[in-house]
Every structure is written in C-alpha cells, then in structure tokens.
C-alpha cells in the first residue's frame, strides 16, 4: 500500500516519509487509520486465542487444560482485549480513514493529538497483557472488575487499572478529535443533515465516549484507592457499598455497549444503499433513532443488575426503559429492510456481511428484549443465555460491520479489488461456524449453565462440545480474512474511482487508492 501511494506524491510536503519512522511520527489520518486497523487485527487474534483457550477447556466436562484461576483470567482478558483492543480501535481506525473523506475535509482537526491517541494504545495493551506473566497472574475478577472480588488478586491489579486509564485517555483524545473534525472540517455545503450516517453515528458515539469514559476512569480509580490507599468506597466495613461500584460501572457500561454498536449502524447504513442501488430509507429517522438510543443508554444501566436487590420501583423503571430501546433499534432494522425493498440488489462480500449483520443482530436484539423482562431476567442473568445474547450483538454485530467496512472500503484504501471469491468463502465459513459456536449457548444458558465457569455438569456436555467446534472453526476461518487483506494490499485487479456501481458519497469521488492527501481544496457539494 505504501508503494502505491508513494507513486502519486513523493515530495516532502505531500508524500509519506520513508521508512518505519513514517508510522511513528505520522499525523496523516490515513496512516493513523491504517495503524489502528492493523492494531485491531493483531489484537483480534490475541483475544481470539484467549477465547479458544476458554472453549478448549469447555470442550468436555472436567478440567483438562487450565487452572480455574487462569480460566477466569482468560475470560477477563478476552473481554478487555476484544472490547478495548479490537472493536473500539477498529472503529476509530475507520473513523480516521473515512470521516475526513466523507465530509470533504483534508485531515483530522488535531493531527498530532491523533498520533498520540494511537501510540498510547500499544503501550496500554503491553501493560495489560504483561500482567499475565506477573506473580499472581492477570486480572481474574471479570472485565467488569466488580469489587470486592477484583481487589483480591495479586499486585498486577495496579497495572490493569493503569492500562485502563491509558486506553481511556486514548479513546477520549480520539473522540475529541472526531468531534472537532466533524464540526470544523466539513466542506462548504456539507450541512449536518447531509452527512453520511457513518459520520452521524460516530459524532454521537464520540459524545458518548467523552461522557462515560471519565466515569469508568473514576470508578477504577476508586478501586485503586480502595485497594492501596485505604479508602472504602466499595467496602461495607468503611461505610461503602459494593453495589455502588456496579451502579457507577454500568453507568459507563451501558453507553459503552452502544459505543460498540452505533458506528456499526453507520457502516451498515452506507453499505446497504450501495448494493441495493437505492437511497437509504428514512435518513432523518435514522439520525433521530441513533440519538434516542444514545439518550436511552444513560437510563437503563441497572438492567445489568436486576439480582442485586433493588426496590420494586427501580426494577420497574429499568425494565420499561430497557424495553423502550427496542423501539428506535427496531426503526433502524425496518429502515434497512425498506432500503432493500424494491432495490436492485447484488451480493458482493460487503453486502453479504451487512445482510449477515442484519439477520444475526436482529436475533441478538430479540434475545435482548427477552432479557429486559425483569422476572425472566432473574432466570437468564449471568447464564450462557446472556453470553449468547451479547456475542450475537457483538460478533455478527460489531465485528461483522467492521469486516463489511473493510471489504467495502479496502479497494479505496489500496487501489486494488480484494479477492471476491475468497471474501465470499470467508463470509460463509464464518457465518456457519459462528452460529454453531453461539447458538447452542442459548440452550445451555436456559437449561441452567452459569457463565464464567471452567467446568460444568454433564447435561451441558453435548452443546458445549458443539460450541467449541464452532469456536475453532470460526477462529481459524479468520485466517482467510488475513489472507484476503494481505493479498489485496499487495495487488490485484485495479479499482476504479467509484469502485461500486451504486456507491454515493465524497469518498468515491477521489481516485483509488485515495491519495495521501485528499480534499486539500474543499469539494463542491450540490
């Protein structure tokens, strides 16, 4: 990719620097976007490796491979890596690449800040992963770090907290940059209500991040001082309350769930119209639905805690508020289907992933509606049913949208078409194994298997074996993705400027590959 872009512009002011320092010092939004995406890909395999350790242990009842404490530390790290190291950086990478090109701006608003926010990430994750090799092992109290359990482990705890602080600083800096870019860098004529939905969803996501990451930082700082400096925010002995941690954490945690899915909504809203060759249905209602989901996400947090013993009125409120979220989410799904309706559809790989998203995200959304029903949630809570639910919204939701985006925009990034045949194989193999992996979790969850256990009763054995087979199939089929991406970066059929027949938007008006600098003169918007 670097050689391809270098051919276009190769003088000091405009071209990328030579050698590895280009990546270290770069302030170019496309370079930084690439760094974020590659980082996310590497972390995807690290987090996936942890998932495979978990699934391998769960292949059969009895403990065969790992100590239960290490198992707990795998579930904890798998979540932290996948959330903070894969989905969030990948979305930031896509934002870096695409937002300036979509709004007709030359770069991100604060390029140097952009460089810092990326380079903090590798250090944060080195710190996090290094805890696995410390005495006492990595964090093993779950990614939610519930007090008092999280305060029990070894001294690696302090490193975990610091790494979360670093990740938070990186996300907040990235978000500030995105907000500033969207407000100040739009080409003349690009009004807010003309922006592509990916830009809209990211604007709202950035605000969510800025609002809730500091709350997480506060919560984990309280954990840190409780552990090392004698405060007792979460210890009943000193007048605190462990449940308060959960309230503060989920006040961050629920908006975080939407941080992980709103940009995906934006991506799907770009892809479906392209391959249906028809404008997005209900653009304005999509924007309003996104905003209402973001608003509602602040008032539903306690649905993660229906078993802690809340007053009846509280349980009622959080049940109703949670059920309300399905209304704007439903509107989105209906809008996407209406966009497909009477279109002229083709099913290239990005569209396949978008359709996969639509079907399986809807399944995850419907199980989410079931979870909202408080009395039933008493039975579902902390079982594999919940695990199935959030993996259905995160894997075919967030991860599929990222893959769809990669296939969709990769020709623009590299100037080459990806290998369509292998792209489609990647989709079908992944989708089959994904359902083999996660669908049985609904069954074992309902039948009574709690989450976060390394060993289980014999009645759950068959479905766990099936899930493990699915996990290994899904995990290894991601190597196809790596193959397709690498192949596309090295060469292939040259992509046209427009790339896709039905594509609309400013990013499709610049040559493929996109030059190192785009829109230094603002485009004309009609």
């Amino acid at each position: 990719m670097s050689t391809a872009t270098a051919e276009h512009h190769d003088h000091d002011d405009h071209g990328p620097a030579k050698g590895w320092t280009r990546w270290l010092y770069t302030t170019n939004h496309k370079d930084i976007g690439t760094l974020y995406l590659l980082f996310a890909l590497v972390m995807f395999f690290i987090g996936g490796g942890m998932a495979l350790i978990i699934r391998a242990e769960l292949f059969q009842p009895g403990l065969q491979l790992v100590d239960p404490l290490f198992f707990n530390s795998m579930t904890t790290m798998h979540a932290l890596v996948m959330i903070f190291g894969v989905v969030m950086p990948a979305f930031v990478g896509l934002a870096n690449w695409m937002i300036p090109m979509m709004i007709g701006g030359p770069d991100m608003a604060l390029p140097r800040l952009n460089n810092w926010s990326f380079w903090i990430m590798p250090f944060a994750f080195l710190l996090l992963l290094s805890t696995l090799f410390m005495e006492g092992g990595g964090p093993a109290g779950g990614w939610t770090l519930y007090a008092p359990l999280s305060l029990q482990g070894g001294d690696s705890f302090a490193f975990v907290i610091f790494s979360i602080h670093f990740m938070g600083i990186s996300s907040v800096m990235g978000s500030i940059n995105i907000v500033a870019t969207i407000f100040n860098m739009r080409a003349p004529g690009m009004t807010l209500m003309k922006m592509p939905l990916f830009v809209w969803t990211w604007l709202i996501t950035a605000y969510l991040l800025i609002a809730v990451i500091p709350v997480l930082a506060g919560a984990v700082t309280m954990l840190l001082t409780d552990r090392y400096f004698g405060t007792s925010f979460f210890s009943a002995a000193g007048g605190g309350d462990p449940v308060m941690y959960q309230h503060i954490f989920w006040f961050f945690g629920h908006p975080e769930v939407y941080i992980l899915i709103l940009p995906a909504f934006g991506i799907i809203s770009s892809i479906i119209p392209t391959f249906a060759r028809k404008p997005l249905f209900g653009y304005a209602s999509m924007v309003y639905a996104t905003a209402s989901i973001a608003f509602l996400s602040f008032i539903v947090w306690a649905h993660h805690m229906f078993t802690v013993g809340m007053p009846l009125a509280g349980e009622m409120f959080f049940m109703f508020a949670t059920m309300m979220i399905s209304v704007p989410t439903g509107v989105k799904v209906f809008n996407w289907i209406a966009t497909m309706w009477r279109g002229s559809m083709t099913f290239e790989t990005p569209m396949l992933f978008a359709v996969g998203f639509l079907v399986m995200f809807t399944i995850g959304g419907l199980s989410g509606l079931m979870l909202a029903i408080t009395p039933a949630d008493i039975q579902y809570h902390d079982t594999y049913f919940v695990v199935a639910h959030f993996h259905y919204v995160l894997v075919p939701g967030a991860i599929y949208s990222i893959m769809a985006a990669t296939y969709y925009w990769m020709p623009k990034w590299t100037g080459n078409m990806y290998d369509e045949k292998w792209g489609k194989i990647h989709f079908w193999v992944s989708t089959i194994f994904l359902n083999v992996l996660f669908f049985p979790m609904h069954f074992v969850g309902l039948a009574g298997m709690p989450r976060r256990i390394p060993d289980y009763s014999l009645q759950f054995a068959d479905w766990n074996a099936v899930a493990t087979i699915g996990a290994f199939g899904f995990g290894f089929s991601q190597l196809i993705f790596v193959y397709v991406v690498l192949k596309c970066m090295r060469g292939g059929e040259k992509a046209t400027t427009e790339v896709w027949e039905g594509a609309e938007g400013l990013e499709w008006t610049v040559p493929s590959p996109a030059p190192y600098h785009t829109f230094e003169k603002p485009p004309v918007i009609n």
């Binding site: 779950g142 359990l149 029903i373 008493i378």
Partner: protein
C-alpha cells in the same frame, strides 16, 4: 377476573410445558428453562415462553420480508431500483406497533415482579451466606446452621487432569455434603448475604436468584409445591472456585421436615454463650472426641479430608499454592515452624489477607487434624501432632 394477557401467559406456559415434556420425556429440558416447582417459577416460565414466541413471530415477519426482497429485488433478476426513501405513514406504524407490543408485554411482567418482591407472611426463614467457595445456611426459627460444600468425590474428580470417569456421577458438580432441607407447601423466605465477595444463589426450579453482598442483606422467597431435590449454582463470579459451589435444596413434606428439625436443632442453650455455636449438628459427635489423645495416623487421615475440602482450593491439592496469590504449604516457614504460630494462623486467620479464621468453621478435631496434616505432608516432616485438646483450650 383474569385479563386476556394473563390468560395468554398461562396458555403459553401450559402449551410449552406440554411440548417440552413430550420432546424431552420429562419436565426437564436440556435446551429450555425449567418450568420449576413454585407458582412463581411457573409464571416466570410462562412469561419467558410468551416473550419467546413474540420474538419468534417478530423475527419471522422481519426475515420473511427481508428474504422475499432479497430474492425478488436482485439485479440478476432484472430488478430496477425504485427511489423512494421515506414514508411518514409507515414510519409511524412501525414505531407505534412495537410500542403497543411492549406495553402488552410489560403488564404481566410487572405483575409477576410485584409478586416476587412480596416476602410477607413467610413461615420459614433461612439465612444463606456465601463464602469462598461454599454456602452456609442458618434457619432463623430453629437455629440449625451448617456449611454446604461440593461433595468430596466430585471435588476430587474436578481437579485438573484427575482422570476420574465423570459419567459415574448422576449430578456432576451439583452434589453437596449437606443439602438445604425445606418443607413443601410453606412460604420460605431466604435472606442472602456474604462473608467475603459477591456471590449469587440460584436455583432454577425455584426461580430464585439473588446476589449475596458482603455487609448487606437481600431477601426473596419460594413456595415449593412438589417434594424433590432441586439443584443450582452460584452465578456471580466469586473467584477461583466459582464453578464449584453448588446449591442443593431438598424439599420434603412437612412432617419429614419437622422430624429433621427436631433431630438437628442445637440444644436450647443461648447461642451466644455456646462457644461452638457454629459447629454443625453433624460434627457434634466428633466434638466429644476433642478431649482424648489422637494418634498421628488418625489425625493425618482426617486432616487430608479436611485439607482437600477446605484448604486445597487456594493452597492446591499438592500444597504448592499459587505463586503470588496463595502461599505454598510445602516447605513453608509456618507449617514447618513452631506449633503455636501455625495454630494461630489457622485459628485466627491472617489480618488483611485472604487467609480467613477457621475458628468458627472447623471443629477442634478438624482443625487439629488439618494442622497435623499440613506439618507432615507435601514433603514437610515435622513429625509432631497437634491434639484437639490444644485447640479446645484456646476457645
């Protein structure tokens, strides 16, 4: 005076129960929520099946439209794209219809929720305390109290690479030494709390799941209609052995329950003045032996059992501990040093660490045995014995 929605809930519950029992041969399903044995669990099951079918219908409708479109409106079939992109009418309809479904769903859910929270007029109260990694039950009416831990055979089988054939167990990881015994047909109130981290006490058949939070007390209730043994698990991650602290509830007819209470109730001495208040009725017999002299092999044999049940979770079955988290017993300065210091660690615990005091949990004999065992196992060769009388003298 039943609303159509309530009727719908019970109809769905009944129909689904029939389907489940036909497919699985019993009311126990490996792929669905149990119907359970309390009025509330049946209501919850009905709600679950109702919302499940609603979701299925919504999903089927959405996917039908979508797949129809995907087959009909494809370019290869010569479809030409229309260019409509909004319709206020449809948008209002598909916002309003889900809202109506939600309200219809919320009403029966709210009713069940209100019933769940009504703990008044309970006839039996049991306090359930979570420990890492066992449960402690205390009957407030009779004062009976005991710990309930994973069955020793299961505990052996679940060690990493134990090689034990798990199919020999009927209820692998769902068997305990002392089950909770409760009467059927009586409203039982459960009080939940914890002595260390947060746990969660769950019995699916009773639709009872409540967090046990250190320093706080929670409550809920169950009215069991059918005698039987109902099994559950801890569902809040509580550390290393979170997966190994099952719940077993034995529901028996009232006469049997009363007989059990009569047999196990502690002597009517005021609990507070009784130094062995927390000892279980089961250990009462052993208590009498505390005064006699015990031989080393006797203590070692008993000590091994106690060690595997109580200590091995942290210090490991091989006494090597877990570096950085739990110290090794093998070769440790305490286990090979003076007796008094060793006894103090077990008896009083170590302030500010995960090492709890076992003065309240273990009898004199158990404690003497396990200390003797630690001093003479895992390559430790102190060679002495700690007598139960030494522990008794401390009390």
């Amino acid at each position: 005076m039943r609303s159509p929605i309530n009727l719908a809930v019970s109809w769905v519950a009944a129909m689904s129960a029939v389907v489940v029992s036909q497919t699985a041969g019993a009311a126990v399903s490996d792929i669905n929520m149990p119907v359970g044995v309390t009025p509330l669990s049946q209501e919850v099951y009905g709600l679950h099946m109702l919302i499940f079918w609603i979701c299925c219908v919504i999903g089927a409708a959405v996917f039908a439209v979508m797949f129809y479109s995907m087959f009909k409106h494809r370019k290869s079939k010569g479809a030409v794209a229309a260019d409509f992109h909004e319709s206020t009418t449809v948008e209002i309809i598909w916002t309003a219809v889900p809202l109506i479904i939600l309200v219809a769903m919320a009403i029966p859910a709210a009713k069940t929720l209100i019933a769940m929270e009504d703990t008044s007029n309970a006839e039996v109260t049991v306090k359930v305390t979570g420990y890492q990694w066992k449960w402690h039950y205390e009957y407030l009416d009779s004062g009976i109290n005991f710990f309930s831990t994973l069955d020793a055979e299961h505990n052996r089988a679940r060690q990493v690479g134990s090689g034990v054939d798990l199919t020999q167990f009927d209820h692998y990881l769902k068997e305990v030494d002392n089950p909770l015994v409760v009467p059927v047909g009586k409203k039982i109130r459960f009080l939940h709390t914890s002595a260390d981290v947060i746990h969660s006490w769950w019995v699916p058949d009773l639709a009872v799941k409540k967090d046990a939070i250190p320093g706080f007390i929670n409550e809920n209730w169950a009215l069991i209609e059918k005698p039987g043994i109902y099994r559950g698990k801890c569902t809040e991650l509580c550390g290393r052995d979170h997966g190994f602290m099952p719940v077993v509830v034995k529901a028996v007819p009232e006469e049997e329950y009363l007989a059990w209470v009569a047999e196990n109730a502690p002597a009517p001495v005021l609990a507070a003045t009784d130094s062995t208040a927390t000892a279980t009725a089961a250990t009462a017999a052993v208590e009498e032996d505390a005064d006699r002299e015990w031989a080393q092999d006797e203590l070692m044999a008993k000590g091994e059992t106690v060690y595997n049940q109580v200590c091995a979770a942290c210090h490991q079955a091989n006494g090597q501990g877990l570096p950085g988290a739990f110290p090794a017993i093998a070769g440790s300065a305490i286990a090979t040093g003076p007796q008094d210091a060793h006894i103090d660690v077990i008896y009083s615990g170590v302030q500010g660490s995960a090492m709890a005091s076992f003065a309240g949990q273990l009898s004199d004999v158990d404690m003497a045995a396990v200390i003797t065992y630690q001093r003479n196992a895992f390559g430790n060769t102190v060679g002495d014995t700690v007598q139960p009388s030494q522990i008794k003298a401390l009390r």
